[in-house]
């Protein structure tokens, strides 16, 4: 049976309501975004700073670099670029490594990590998840599972002699099957998320470590 009230509602009235609420919604979201953006940006910078010293524990200071014509050039900390290189220095001002941001698709959404690369050990010596929306209780183990986190205490990422690629690409293996230093033990029940971390690190190291290698002499890193 038809509802008489439904019949009397005009198309214009329905469109007007939806368009009106959508416009109001748009204004509100943009206003809040504009207001909160500088605060969020400042918060993110603070978190990043803290994360850099966490993935490179021996670091006492850092400088921001960008890639230009295949080599690293120093830039100011405020300058925003997609793939920054954070050169880390010890207390005697020697370059000891880099903290690098990397991201890739996880099971749910983009996972963003920051990892520490030691130029001396030629290894990833720390990894921290900056942003994730992986399934709570499962995928979020990539930052909480102690065994998984241990993979990044000294993950081998040595380059070939010419410094153009990794000697042994990082690979993710089933939990307990790790035999080589460049392998990552996956997490049982969060295989996709742990494989995603492996892929993110592999892609990032393959692309960025050769750039670092080319610039080491100029930057005067400890070897």
């Amino acid at each position: 049976m038809s509802n008489p009230q439904q019949k009397s509602t005009s198309t214009i009235s329905m469109l007007r309501t939806l368009a009106g609420v959508a416009t109001l919604s748009g204004f509100l979201i943009v206003f809040v975004y504009e207001f909160t953006f500088p605060i969020i940006k400042k918060n993110r910078a603070e978190v990043l700073k803290k994360a850099i010293f966490q993935v490179m524990p021996a670091a006492k200071s850092y400088k921001k670099f960008a890639e230009k014509d295949g080599k690293l050039v120093e830039i100011s900390e405020d300058q925003e670029i997609a793939e920054a290189y954070y050169g880390c220095y010890d207390d005697t001002n020697n370059l000891i490594g880099f903290a690098l941001e990397a991201s890739g698709m996880g099971f749910v959404d983009i996972i963003k990590v920051l990892y520490g690369y030691s130029t001396n050990k030629e290894a990833v010596i720390g990894n921290m998840v900056l942003e994730t929306k992986e399934t709570p209780g499962l995928g979020d183990k990539i930052e909480k599972d102690a065994d998984f986190v241990r993979n990044f205490e000294e993950l081998d990422v040595k380059l070939t002699e010419d410094g153009s690629k990794l000697q042994n690409p990082i690979e993710v293996v089933k939990k307990g099957k790790k035999t080589e230093k460049w392998q990552i033990d996956a997490i049982t029940g969060a295989t996709i998320s742990s494989k995603a971390i492996g892929k993110i690190l592999l892609e990032s190291t393959q692309k960025r470590l050769p750039v670092i290698h080319k610039s080491l002499d100029v930057l005067g890193a400890s070897k």
Binding site: M14, I29, V32, I40, P136, D140
Partner: protein, 209 residues
């Protein structure tokens, strides 16, 4: 209606959501965040406050616009309003604390599909005046926060030996880690529902005697 009667009615509207019609304990609504984000007191309180914020503001707007929203497009309009305030809450939480934002993860966005919020918009705010709708939303929001807080406290105390990160038991206490894992969420909810229903029946029996 006299002023006294009106005040009493408003008080009842507010209190109903907190206990008698508590969304978690008696209506079993919004179970997803209740089970998932109640592994610590701070996470539980943050989620409770974010949900209350969205609930109060969406009920306010729905009530204000109730005479302008045609029935045929009401659900789409309510969802749009709720999604707007969830986005606002998401930015606000990021501005307040990135740590809290990271801990709540995907569950902030999932407030959009919390049936408790859409339920209050459809069942109450769309039929009642502004003041009453705000009171109802506040009551339900506080009720939700209270329930998720109870879950968070129970799970954190047993599962981690702490309350809001403050140690409760001595160093010799061996935490029941299962309580802060997903399985512990179901167990804690079962225990709380058992207790609440037992208490409710006891008070009802007492009232009929």
């Amino acid at each position: 209606m006299s002023d006294k009667q009106l005040k009493g009615q408003n008080f009842n509207t507010f209190m109903k959501g907190i206990w008698e019609e508590n969304p978690v304990f008696f209506q079993l609504l919004g179970m997803c965040p209740v089970l998932a984000v109640s592994n610590s007191v701070m996470n539980a309180l943050s989620m409770g406050m974010a949900t209350t914020f969205v609930l109060v503001l969406s009920s306010t707007l729905v009530s204000l616009l109730r005479k302008l929203i045609p029935k045929q497009v009401r659900i789409a309009t309510y969802i749009l309003i709720i999604a707007t305030f969830v986005t606002v809450a998401e930015y606000a939480i990021q501005a307040i604390s990135l740590e809290v934002y990271k801990n709540l993860g995907a569950f902030i966005s999932l407030i959009v599909v919390n049936c408790m919020i859409l339920g209050r918009a459809e069942a109450f705010a769309s039929k009642n005046k502004l003041g009453k709708s705000i009171l109802d939303a506040f009551g339900v929001g506080i009720g939700f926060t209270f329930a998720i807080f109870c879950m968070g406290a129970l799970r954190e105390i047993i599962g981690n030996g702490t309350f809001a990160e403050i140690p409760v038991f001595g160093e010799n206490y061996e935490p029941w880690v299962i309580m802060i894992l997903p399985g512990g969420g179901f167990f804690a909810l079962g225990v709380l529902l058992l207790f609440v229903n037992w208490y409710q029946q006891k008070t009802k029996k007492g009232a009929t005697k």
